[in-house]
Symmetry: C2
Subunit: 192 residues, 2 copies
């Protein structure tokens, strides 16, 4: 039991890993723990638009663990250029350390979920990625493009970055967002 | 799709509902969104100690939605005396409003999960309650009794409040906590 408690207290640190988007109406930045909660419910709400047969429980479990590597490695904006291999290696080392706190190989199940999300090759992982990529877009669309403007992210970079994973995982969601992103461009919600 | 998006943006408000416990090492108070994420992973980590046959996916789903009523009703410390019926009614009205944002009766599934947690009569709901009640205890045990001392909560009130639900939902977790709480009393981590 003590090993499980040590693991859970280690996870507490994800509440201190901040992202670039602010929750609507709040001054502070979002953290990766509350983000993980939010996208788990986004996936659950969108399940009618998932590929037939998608196992929602596995999608939710993946989304709850997908950012845990940031406890050691920090959050890096999705649009960062370069250093991707180093970041992936750092997050991999982090989750091996953290899931390794659990007894009797119990961490292997969590690590497999994390790995499945990283690889993105199952229908569940693709759907999970769509939720993860869509959430900051939805917040920005309703927050005057806050993190796009603060970080100088253009319309073209947003679309090039998020269209492929969202279209692959949840085409109906991409159809909705494409129209809203085009309107946001006309309203000047993007960085240069 | 717009109705689902409206629902998800409404959920964003739970990130602004603060609780009485602070995450370890942070000055700010915990919010109910990150708390929900944390206890979903606590339940997943403790599943070997759940009643045989417990459906972990339903436990996780319950924990992700159980605090959504606080968006309208706010968080009230578990040890508050009185007003329980009014709080329950306010939270019930809130979740009916919020889950009602979803199209085609889709909110009924979420409402059923919320209701199952509230009633606490299934094995899944009991296990979920144990995780929900144990998490602030674990944080306080590792945070010098921060919220107990700040709110004048005695050892006796903590034990009277959390022992029954944790013992009912996860006896092994209560055995662990009972020893730690006794040690914390000797260290003076409680309020008067």
């Amino acid at each position: 039991m003590q090993e499980i408690v040590d693991f859970i207290l280690e996870l507490d640190k994800l509440k201190g890993v901040t992202r670039k988007v602010r929750p609507l109406g709040l001054e502070r930045y979002e953290n990766s723990a509350e983000h993980s909660w939010h996208i788990a419910l986004l996936a659950a709400s969108l399940v009618r638009f998932a590929e037939p047969g998608v196992d929602l429980a596995r999608v939710v479990a993946m989304l709850l663990v997908h950012d845990i590597g940031e406890i050691d490695a920090g959050d890096v904006i999705f649009f960062a250029e370069g250093g991707k291999a180093e970041r992936q290696a750092a997050e991999r080392a982090a989750v091996e350390r953290i899931f390794g706190l659990l007894p009797d190989g119990q961490g292997a199940g969590f690590l497999a979920l994390w790995q499945e999300f990283e690889e993105g090759s199952t229908a569940e992982a693709r759907f999970a990625h769509a939720a993860d990529r869509a959430m900051p877009v939805l917040l920005n669309l309703n927050n005057h493009g806050q993190s796009w403007r603060e970080n100088g992210i253009s319309y073209e970079r947003v679309v090039a970055g998020v269209a492929p994973p969202i279209r692959a995982g949840c085409p109906a969601l991409w159809e909705y967002l494409a129209v809203r992103l085009e309107a946001a461009r006309e309203q000047g919600l993007f960085g240069a």
